[in-house]
Every structure is written in C-alpha cells, then in structure tokens.
C-alpha cells in the first residue's frame, strides 16, 4: 500500500491514507464499497479485449454470478477449515440442502410457491441445523477421521436426494423453480442476468461482513485458539464443544443460504449438482486462495470457476472453429481436474499457505462500552 501511495501526488496520497484509516476502522463500509466497485469493474473488464471477444456481456454476467456463488461457498467453508481448523470434505451437502429447501417450497413440483426472501433465511437455518447434526457426533474426531466422516455425509445427502424420488424427483431433479421476485416491486426475468448479479453481490457483502465480524468476535478467537492448540484452548476455559458446533453451524448456514439463491438462479436442482466434486473444488479454492483469508478464498473460488467454465470452454470452441488437428478433438473442460491437481501440487510445494496467506492482524477484545482496549 505504502509503495503505491508514495508514487501518487501529495493530495491524492493524503486522500488514500485517509481512506485507508477510515476503512480500517469501518470495515463493513470498506467491504461494501469494495464489492460495489468490483461489481462495476467486472462487467467493464469483460468488454475489454481479449475478454470481450470470448463471449457476450450477458454470458459474462451469468458466469460472474455463478462464480460469486462459489466464492460465497468457499468463504463459508473457510469458516470451518480456515478459522476452526476442522477438515470438512462434505460441504456440498449443505449447499444441496439449501437448494432443495427452496426447490420444494417454490416450484411446481409440490405446487407450493413460498416467496424467495423468507426461504433464504430458512435455508440458512436448515443448513445450520444439519451442520450441528453432523458436528455433534464428530466432535471427538480430528483431522483424517473427521475428514472421512464428513466425506461420508457429503455422499449420503446427494444419494438420499437421488433415491427419495417421491420427495425429490430423483435423478431428474426439481425444475421450474421460482425466481427471487420482490412481490409488488420487481419481477426477475431469466433473460436478464443483471438483477441476479446485483443480488448475489449483495449476498456476498452480507456474508463477508458477517464472517469478518465473527472472526473478530470472541467466537472467532475461540476458533483460532482451537485451531492452534485444542488442549491449550480447553485449559484456557474455552468450551470447545460449543465452539466447534458454532463453526459447523455458521459454515453450513452460509452454504444453505447461498444454496437457496443457486437454486433460484439455475431454476433447477438435481442430485448430481452437489457431488463430491463440488466439495473438492470448494476445498481447492480455500487451499489455493489461502486458508483463513476471507478475501483470498473468495478470489480463489471466483478464479477457479471462471477458468473452468469460461476459459477452458472457450479454448475448446476456439480450437474446434480453427479445426486445428488433434487440438480440436480435445475437450479442454475435461482438463479442469488435471489443472486443479497440478495447481494444488505446485502450491503445496511452493506456497503451502496459499496465494493470499492469511495475515494475522493483532486483535483485542472490546470492552463493555465497545471501545477497543
């Protein structure tokens, strides 16, 4: 930052410094403006060559919307893995539960049509409940063992959704899911991606602010202590049982929350949308982005999604159009896992803390009057 500002003319540098101090003490505002800026910048960037040549602006906006969904998912998983240090390999299950919650109560399938907004909250609550249900029996487990149980849970949920076809329409999935309309004010139109884009950015802002506040709270400090040394945390008087359940609940609530939006955006949910692959790519995003760093894991997920869904796809199309021998027959989308794998191996060898390592800020508890000590 200082390197940047030192090159600016003095008045601008002063302004930058003032803004920096302002947003350091008012982080929620800072997050809000950063996301607004990002929201404006991304569509503009997508017009600039070479990005503009790849696909239409609406296609880009759709891609950004889904990429932000995965960012939110990674930020939620980061609470469990990055903050509390609990390895969860079945995170997609909570994403599925949120999606199916909305699908069941807002589609022609059961012919119930509840409005989107309250279900957004219900989805988060259902996520949290299942988070606690998964967390409670696994409290004594650590590391590898916890990973195996969560992996199992991540498999059970989609398999149940697949087989309970009376309630979930099985493999076909539930389609025709309602749009997130604001009754009497605004109706979403599936051909117009912009309102979805704005909504998902608003959800991102909410999630990031909530997660940052939690990180700085007593709950967040307890998570950090457990991650660093569970025995020392217990000896310091932290109720590790409650603390870990809180981490599972918050992580799962975020997945449920964004799961509801995901269902509304795609208008369909099916079991194969929530498989192990989703859990693993979210985990990769957390590891690549930098475990514990909220912004880092968000960017990690965003970039991973864009690479797989835009660049690899366009690469395939490009080579097919140019009909270059051999290359035109390769489906580059198939290569995404090779890329993940290679990226993860390289990261673990070269930069195990992630692209954006979590930097520890010195934190203090605030006293009763709300002033920092």
């Amino acid at each position: 930052m200082s390197r940047l500002t030192s090159r600016l003319p003095a008045p601008l540098a002063r302004l930058a410094a003032r803004l920096t101090t302002h947003f350091t003490s008012h982080r929620s505002q800072g997050i809000f403006f950063a996301i607004v800026a990002l929201g404006i910048l991304l569509p503009i960037l997508s017009r600039v060559p070479p990005f503009g040549a790849l696909q239409s602006i609406n296609a880009w906006t759709n891609a950004f919307t889904i990429a932000v969904i995965y960012s939110i998912l990674a930020i939620g998983l980061n609470v469990v893995i990055g903050f509390a240090g609990l390895l969860d390999l079945g995170y997609a299950a909570f994403f599925a539960l949120g999606g199916y919650t909305y699908a069941l109560v807002a589609s022609p399938f059961l012919n119930i049509h509840l409005p989107f907004w309250p279900v957004l909250i219900i989805g988060a609550i259902i996520g949290a409940i299942f988070g606690v249900l998964l967390g409670a029996p696994t409290l004594r487990l650590r590391g590898d063992y916890l990973a195996i149980v969560t992996l199992g849970f991540g498999e059970i949920v989609p398999i149940t959704l697949l087989n309970a076809d009376k309630f979930t329409a099985g493999t076909i999935g539930i389609g025709g899911i309602d749009k997130p309309n604001i009754p009497g004010l605004y109706n979403f139109d599936l051909t117009n991606p912009w309102p979805f884009y704005i909504l998902v950015l608003a959800m991102l802002a909410i999630v990031v602010i909530v997660v940052y506040r939690l990180e700085d709270s007593k709950i967040g400090r307890a998570w950090e202590a457990i991650r660093e040394d569970e025995l020392a945390a217990e000896s310091s008087g932290i109720n590790t049982t409650i603390s870990k359940l809180q981490a599972f609940a918050v992580g799962a609530a975020i997945a449920g929350f964004i799961g509801v939006f995901n269902a509304a955006k795609l208008t369909i949910v099916a079991p194969d949308m929530f498989g192990f692959v989703v859990s693993v790519s979210t985990l990769s995003a957390v590891v690549l982005g930098g475990m514990g760093n909220v912004v880092g894991v968000g960017i990690g997920a965003f970039v991973i999604y864009l690479i797989q869904s835009v660049f690899l796809k366009q690469l395939s199309i490009l080579f097919t159009q140019l009909s270059i021998p051999i290359l035109k027959d390769i489906d580059f989308l198939q290569f995404q896992y090779v890329l993940y794998g290679a990226a993860l191996v390289i990261m673990m060898l070269r930069r195990p803390q992630g692209i954006f390592p979590a930097r520890r800020r010195h934190r203090t508890f605030t006293d009763a009057t709300g002033n920092s000590k």
Binding site: K218, E224, D229
Partner: protein, 235 residues
C-alpha cells in the same frame, strides 16, 4: 476443608490403569509438589483434576464442591488453572493475545489490571507484548504459559513441568516466580522432575509411583528421607 482434595481417584487410558486410587490435598495458600519418575502418573493427575481426562471413580472437590464430572471450561471458571506440559502457547498469537485467551471466561475492567500483574511478574513478557508467542525462547514461552494460566484468576494453579528443557538459571527464575505467585495468594500444585528444586519451594509433597501415592509428607522431611533421596534426588 481443603481447597482441593482428591479421594481415591482412578483414571484409565483405555485398559491402562494410570491412576490407582490417588488421594491428595492442597490447602489454601500452599505449594504442593508431586514427584515421581516418568510414567508415574503426575501429568495424568493434573489432567484429571482439570477435566481433560475423566476419573472412572473417586472424587475431586474444590472447596467441598465436587468437580470430577465437570467439563474443563467449567473447572477453569471455578478457579483451577492448568499450565499444561510442554507450554502449549498459541504460537501465532501475540503475547498479549495469549494472555487474553487466558482471561477468556472473564470480562470487565479488572482484566486490564491482571495484565499489569502478569507483566510485573514477567517483565520480559511486557517487552514482547506484541510479538508472536511462537518466536520466543523456551523460557519466555514458559513464562507466558504461566501468565496465561494466571489470567483466569485461579484459586489454584496446576503447573506441569515448568522447568522442562530450560537452562538452570531460567529454572531458578521460574521457581522464584512460582514462589512469588504463591505469596500473592494462589495455591500451587507443582509437578516436577526436578525433585530437589520442587521440594525446595514446596510446603508439602507427594511421591507418585506407577499411579499410586506411596508417600506424602512435609517437603523438608521428604527431602531428608533416605529412600526419596536415593530414588529421586540423585544423592
């Protein structure tokens, strides 16, 4: 009534019978030391008191209130602080944050006073207030572990091997501070390999052998007991 009392405590690790009917007392204002060779059950005794292990039978009381079935955080809240073996400071947190974690269950202005008290006892920690705990020397980390335990305002402090891996001069410093803490009104249950030094500052002591208390006496008498001398004092 004793401040802390263990009666016939039995603790198991799976099928291993680690504590075989341990009974001991710590009175208000005392330093009591537990001496024994490796694997005698010293650490297990402390872990059982602080709730990190469950006693299968027997009773543990603090001021007459039975605590053997309480979880660790409630035991801390009642006034038993445990500075665990191997220091176990939160390596990536600063010294100040570590101390804050020790005061996790407390709130209000008197926490600030306790920072000052800990910094008085350990001026080194004041110097390193904002340094990451993991980057400090072993002795400093031990000071921090004790300071962190004190931040919970314990009635009794459980210290597990505070001298482990420290240079002799540092060991002496640590023991002086333990005495000082005790003089300020906190009872101490001290587990030590360095039996000579432990008996030097303790009022009473217990000898632990393969999970059983085989001897309990005034520290001075234990230090002069020929059997103890031969087995633990290396004389």
């Amino acid at each position: 009534m004793a401040l802390l009392e263990l009666k016939d405590v039995n603790t198991y690790y799976g099928a291993v019978h680690a504590l075989r009917g341990v009974s001991l007392k710590v009175e208000e204002g005392e330093i009591v030391t537990l001496i024994g060779s490796n694997g005698a059950g010293k650490t297990t005794t402390l872990r059982t008191i602080s709730g990190l292990e469950r006693a299968r039978s027997g009773s543990i009381t603090l001021n007459g209130q039975s605590i053997e079935s309480l979880p660790p955080h409630q035991i801390v809240a009642l006034g038993i602080s445990h500075a665990p073996e191997g220091r176990r400071v939160f390596a990536r947190m600063s010294v100040r944050e570590n101390l804050e974690m020790g005061a996790f269950l407390r709130r209000g202005a008197d926490v600030e006073k306790d920072f000052q008290k800990v910094f008085e006892l350990f001026p080194r920690l004041k110097e390193r207030e904002f340094q990451a705990a993991g980057t400090m020397s072993g002795g400093e980390q031990q000071m921090l572990a004790i300071g962190r335990a004190l931040m919970a305002q314990p009635k009794i402090l459980l210290l597990d091997e505070p001298s482990m891996g420290l240079a002799p001069i540092l060991v002496e410093q640590i023991f002086d501070i333990v005495k000082e803490i005790n003089q300020r009104g906190t009872a101490v249950l001290l587990v030590e390999q360095n039996a000579m030094m432990a008996l030097g500052i303790a009022k009473r002591g217990y000898i632990l052998q393969i999970g059983e208390v085989t001897l309990g006496d005034d520290a001075a008498k234990l230090a002069n007991n020929p059997k103890v001398k031969e087995a633990y004092l290396g004389v």
